[in-house]
């Protein structure tokens, strides 16, 4: 073979040059690729130049202001370290806020319709959640959200679920943090109003709902003159089924309490695991009646120097309920007061007058009670409480027979902070923070006992008071009510803002004030004011952002967010259809940038219409809306979501429906007609 070496060389060269040519092109391709993907150069600030100084001067900023700005400013695209879930107050919603930037990220629709999210604006599934929570069957379109509670594992936030209570109607909602949507609303079958919801036990076995204004159990009438006989307080323990992501109503139960006005609660943890603590006021059992020349409530409920801290053995209460020692009203179980006393489930301890918060320290050793008309916080020792109960050392019993522990037996210490102490949170440095409503300040004070070694200050001592603006209610330190507080930040939730913001008329925004608590001793720095213009928030919780693992889009096309599973009526491209059975018309529609299929939906007046729409998109943020005028419908169809609307076509006409999310350049063209023939 290869008789001619020249010929052999020729084809060899041809192949090599071909290889080089192809290889060369490939290499060129690679280089271009690298050019595009090369990371932008990062310039590190080493010193503030003249420009920064000039801006500070022009804007009249002090060095302190500049530092505060640097601590909170987020360059575009930078994400916050923490996320705060705040009650939205009268809005009935939950606010999601980035910390430290204090940027509002979302307003989650809970008790109130929220059109952008398609929450209660026509979607059959969301309507069902809202209507399940209607007290007494009346369509209720607002709530007074108070205390959000993140689900916990071993006493630390796990980022899976959020619970929030509605004070106005004694309701509880469950939000799934995979998609930040409300999945369940329950109305308390026994109570009219509740303030102490929601607080979770360390593994979220129970969600605690403390009461508020005493009423006859089961929401019925009794004359106010029969107050002591017929009116009752209440605490409810809702059993959470984490697997289903729902409260299990049948496994939940309540405890009948004397008709004091129970307030906030907190669940014990570690040392106090298995116990629940609730404050109360109006142990005077005042019934008001200013118009009848009786003392008004504000005076009547503030007569006594001491009210009662409720100490509840939840572990044993659950056993008593499981043993069937319960009664039922409206199909809901509760442990009668006398049973609780007989089974040793309930004790009282005196607490300084008209308290607001009871907050358990991270290790569960102490309970901090702030009596809002007393300048102290009172610290109770769980060890001493257990001891006193074991010795059955009681001062006396309340009028209903509940044993009352002796104040000096269970008190660890009282720390004088200032006027109007309300709520307390904790950090990792062994400090506690208490809001002072009347002083308009946040107090930092040192814990003693097990926390003494964490700081170099004397124990149980006020260290500093930082003025806030104004009339501060709750406060939230980062993970500050868990077993693992890691607070760098604290947010003071001010009820009044007076002069802090542009005047927007007589109804002023609330003020969330961000405070840097990372330095020890008396060093606290106010960083930022965030106006809240949607309602009066109460409590908030702040979680490390990396604990949240929410979906970027629904896991598969045709997803039912309300079941967190494939939707029974999902459809795919090519299978869209309209079917008629008598006067029942069923529509299976798809939505994709930038069209609905079908675009003509032809029906007759009087038809009953069931209409499923599947957003078949997989791209992040490719949400479509579905707005149907005159029928009060707007849906939010997030990537992969299927949702259903159902209505009687009682009005004829040519109704133009359209996509109400600006999904694409041809968004306006994403429309169609529902043609209802007379």
């Amino acid at each position: 073979m290869m008789r001619n070496p020249t010929a052999a060389c020729r084809w060899f060269l041809a192949i090599v040059s071909l290889a080089l040519m192809v290889g060369g092109t490939a290499v060129t391709g690679c280089q271009q690729q690298e050019k595009v993907e090369a990371p932008a150069q990062v310039h590190t600030v080493t010193g503030l130049g003249d420009d920064a100084g000039k801006v500070a001067q022009e804007r009249n900023l002090t060095p302190h202001d500049v530092v505060a700005a640097l601590k909170t400013y987020m360059p575009s695209g930078r994400l916050d370290d923490y996320v705060m879930f705040a009650s939205g107050g009268h809005s009935g919603q939950v606010l999601v806020i980035g910390v430290p930037s204090m940027r509002l990220l979302k307003v989650i629709g809970v008790f109130t319709p929220e059109p952008w999210q398609g929450w209660g604006t026509g979607s059959v599934a969301t309507e069902a959640v809202l209507r399940a929570g209607d007290p007494s069957g009346r369509k209720t379109s607002w709530g007074d959200t108070h205390h959000p509670a993140l689900s916990e594992t071993d006493g630390a936030y796990d980022g899976q679920f959020l619970f929030i209570g509605d004070k106005a109607n004694s309701r509880l909602a469950v939000i799934d943090l995979r998609d930040f949507e409300t999945k369940q609303i329950l109305a308390n079958p026994l109570a009219m109003s509740s303030h102490g919801a929601a607080f979770v036990t360390p593994n979220t076995d129970y969600v605690v709902e403390g009461g508020q204004y005493a009423t006859p159990l089961g929401v019925r009438y009794a004359p106010i003159e029969d107050y002591q006989k017929s009116y009752r307080g209440l605490v409810t323990f809702w059993k959470f089924d984490r697997q289903k992501g729902r409260i299990d109503r049948d496994k939940s139960f309540a405890m009948e309490l004397p008709p004091y006005w129970q307030d906030l609660c907190d669940a014990g943890k570690l040392e106090s695991d298995g116990w629940v603590f609730c404050n109360s006021f109006n142990t005077e059992m005042a019934t008001g009646g200013i118009e009848k020349n009786q003392p008004p409530f504000e005076a009547g409920v503030s007569q006594r120097d001491m009210d009662y801290l409720h100490i509840i053995n939840l572990k044993r209460a659950a056993e008593v309920a499981a043993a069937g020692k319960v009664e039922t009203v409206n199909g809901f179980r509760y442990i009668p007061l006398q049973t609780s006393i007989a089974e040793q489930l309930l004790y009282f301890a005196p607490e300084p007058k008209s308290p607001h918060g009871v907050d358990v320290t991270p290790g569960g050793e102490y309970l901090v009670v702030a009596g809002k008309l007393d300048p102290h916080v009172t610290v109770y020792s769980m060890a001493k409480i257990k001891d006193a109960i074991a010795k059955q050392s009681f001062e006396k019993k309340d009028p209903y027979g509940v044993p009352l522990l002796k104040f000096d037996d269970v008190k660890e210490v009282q720390v004088e902070l200032g006027l109007g102490p309300l709520h307390t949170q904790f950090d990792a440095q062994g400090y506690a923070y208490t809001t002072l409503f009347l002083d308009s300040a946040v107090a930092r004070w040192s814990l003693g006992g097990a926390y003494q070694s964490k700081h170099s200050d004397p124990p149980w001592k006020l260290l500093t008071k930082l003025p806030v603006h104004y009339n501060v209610g709750h406060l939230a330190a980062a993970e500050g009510d868990t077993t693992t507080p890691n607070g760098k930040y604290l947010v003071a939730m001010d009820k009044w803002s007076i002069d802090r913001f542009q005047n927007v008329g007589p109804l002023l925004p609330q003020n969330f004030q961000l405070i840097d608590i990372s330095q020890p001793g008396d060093r606290l720095q106010l960083l930022y004011d965030m106006p809240i213009g949607i309602g009066e928030p109460h409590y908030a919780q702040i979680v490390k952002a990396d604990k949240l693992h929410s979906w970027e889009a629904y896991p598969e096309v045709g997803w039912d967010p309300h079941q967190q599973a494939k939707h029974a009526s999902a459809t795919v491209i090519g299978k869209e259809r309209v079917e008629r059975k008598g006067n029942r018309v069923e529509v299976w529609m798809t939505a994709v940038r930038s069209h609905f299929t079908p675009e003509h939906v032809e029906i007759r007046k009087g038809d009953h219409v069931v209409w499923h729409i599947t957003n078949v998109e997989r791209a992040r943020d490719a949400t479509h809306g579905f707005a149907l005028p005159y029928y009060n419908i707007n849906l939010s169809l997030e990537p992969g979501e299927t949702d259903t609307i159902e209505f009687d076509a009682d009005r004829d006409g040519a109704f133009s429906f359209y996509c109400s999310e600006f999904c694409s350049a041809l968004h306006l063209e994403m429309a169609g007609y529902m043609l209802v023939k007379p």
Partner: protein, 230 residues
Amino acid sequence: MKARIRTALQYAERPALRATARAVVGPRVPAHELRRRPLRYWLPTLLLGAAAACLVASIFLPYWKLTLHAPQYPKGLHVHAYLDRMTGDVAEIDALNHYIGMRRLDEAARLERSLSIIAVSVIALLVAAAVFIHTRFAAYLSLPAALFPAAFLVDLQLWLRHFGTHLDPRAPLSQAIKPFVPPVLGQGFVGQFSTVARVEAGFHLALAATAAIAVGLYFHWRAYRPLAER
């Protein structure tokens, strides 16, 4: 194996057939020669064998990657083309392509994709067979494999041209986006998108096979030509 082929040739019955077969497979290496210079004869075998192995391995790796950059896709959109399939953001790219009336990516090169695994396996086998052929026919057997990377790119470019120039005139943006030819390698632009096409690991393996064949055939020529001339 080599010994068995030699035996088969020796016992071939018809002299004419025997002569043709000998002309195709070429001379055998005498045992003493193989012992004297093993590297000289093993080198082409190893290189051609490696080429066949590279080709077979390339079946399991992506050959080509297209990345689309646009402001609203901060992570970009990516399509990986294997010999028989495409993976990545195919659905999203199809969704975007419908605006300009481009056909679904799934409709491209269906025949090629359905045959590619078998075809590459066969041409790899031909290279493996060339190890036993000691004449210029070894080059003929290796040629399809050597040319495969170029053929892949040419076919891909033809499909890109076909897709880019056969846009549905009834598409929403058919007035705004004129027919275009996306480059098979390097950067292109369409609408707000800049595209970068590059070859991937599978292609690099196929290219390595081409190089191994080229070098292997050179050593093949150097080793077996003197035997034939003897």
